[in-house]
Symmetry: C2
Subunit: 251 residues, 2 copies
DNA sequence: CGTAGACTTGACCTGCGTCAACGTGTGTGG
DNA sequence: CCACACACGTTGACGCAGGTCAAGTCTACG
């Protein structure tokens, strides 16, 4: 995945839920970017660090994380290729935690200034960015519900369903997708221990719902998995239908 | 708290973290609003409901909530007077859950169209709104860490610290503030049962840290409570220092 | 073919949930 | 002004989901 392919992927993500003109798309594609390869398990945005760029993920898998004062980590979001993991930092400098490469990952650093200039020049672009941040919020809210109110097996099933839909280019259900996280990282996301993740994944496998291994997820029974995970995709796709894609200027 | 006082409170909230001109403030103060009184325990924005207005809280306390398919609720955010609880819905229609009045509450309904017109006319206002949504995200992220990785006592102490700072007009620490939530509602927020909330609050009281009763929180020992709750206010206040308050047009 | 990181499994422990009973304050109608 | 109801808070007894600890096993890679 090279430089301009990744920006194109980001534009594709935006246009799923926002209407953009050719000029606006071009403005995104013309953003300056600087590719960096990150080793697995490395933090590339530290907690409470203030950056002057945002990170667009070209390949790999990224976890946004918070931490307790005793150093225990909690992954609060996964970010996939095409996601601008910390677009928010262009508008609010800190507060959304650090970013950790869960496997070998390539990111594109895009200066905040360039993002802000583009957003100023094209208000509809600002709105598309804003809406993208709100999608992250919606995912985060589900994460709270998931971690707070569901048992281990249900929680993991929900995560697998979510990642299936988010991995597809057009929010379609993928029955087989790449998910290069270790069980320990999954545990940090689900607020469990790796031991219990292991047991719960085994249960999902033994009941014929899904297999997670070798950095891939294979879903054998989508309906069953969605039921087991109490998964309803509305929060992910509600704004992808055309009637809901308002534009700032056209009000 | 009347109509225009509440809008002024909202403006005050915005200007803590965003620089606004007089014109921009006036545009917010001129927003059309329609006051509604909500009974305690009533949902006034339902899950997955699409509205054409946002709700500015004039008085009372509001919980944003999600729900599992078995009907168990999880409160994912508290909203206080002066907060625009679902400002996000002006840009992304659904996905952030429902709103429930935790006690008798008065809200101002503000049409999305009016918000969008103001944001279009004044890009810096759009940015201020966007930033406000990102503060909610930052709080939400801490909520995940809190629910996922801290034990009951720590979790509650953290919530009490957060609400102390958010209740103050200028993000100052309040040692005594109104918090009209029942123990059951606190349990829905902390992902505990009301029984365990009761026991944990008792522990905070017995150790001389804080007392919660009669819809008020009294903090006897801020440092102790912050330590017990592993609380670091950075995520709430990081963007209130002037150097971080960039403006869209001035880049 | 050795080493290290990831995965797997078993045995035991504990924080919190569940259930159930009881106390307490407040508003309401007789 | 009492009495009654009802919502909220409090406390005890007990069970279990998931944590902890520890000992392997598997796999990729030098």
């Amino acid at each position: 995945m090279n430089w301009s392919d990744t920006l194109q992927l980001f534009v594709d993500r935006l246009t799923i839920r926002s209407v953009l003109t050719d000029d606006e798309r071009d403005a995104v594609l013309a953003l300056p970017a600087h590719a960096i390869k990150i080793r697995a398990r490395q933090d590339f945005v530290h907690l409470s660090e203030e950056t002057n760029y945002s990170c667009l993920i070209a390949s790999g898998l990224v976890g946004r994380f918070g931490q307790t004062s005793t150093g225990v980590r909690q992954i609060t979001a996964f970010h996939l290729p095409g996601d601008m993991a910390d677009l928010n930092s262009a508008v609010r400098p800190i507060g959304l935690g650090g970013l950790n490469a869960l496997c070998e990952t390539v990111i594109l650093r895009i200066p905040h200034d360039a993002i802000r200039v583009a957003a100023t020049r094209f208000p509809a672009l600002a709105e598309a960015f804003w809406r993208d941040c709100l999608l992250d919020s919606a995912i985060l809210m589900q994460w709270v519900v998931n971690v707070g109110r569901r048992d281990a097996r249900t929680r993991l099933a929900h995560i697998l369903c979510e990642m299936s839909i988010r991995s597809g280019r057009d929010r379609e259900i993928l029955l087989n997708y790449q998910f290069p996280a270790t069980q320990e990282q999954i545990a940090d996301a689900a607020a469990l221990t790796s031991v219990h993740v292991n047991r719960s994944l085994k249960s999902l496998r033994n009941t014929g719902l899904a297999t997670v291994s070798g950095g891939r997820v294979e879903i054998h029974d989508w309906d069953g998995l969605a039921r087991a995970g109490e998964f309803d995709s509305t929060y992910l796709v509600a704004d992808t239908i055309p009637e809901r894609q308002k534009r700032m200027l056209a009000t």
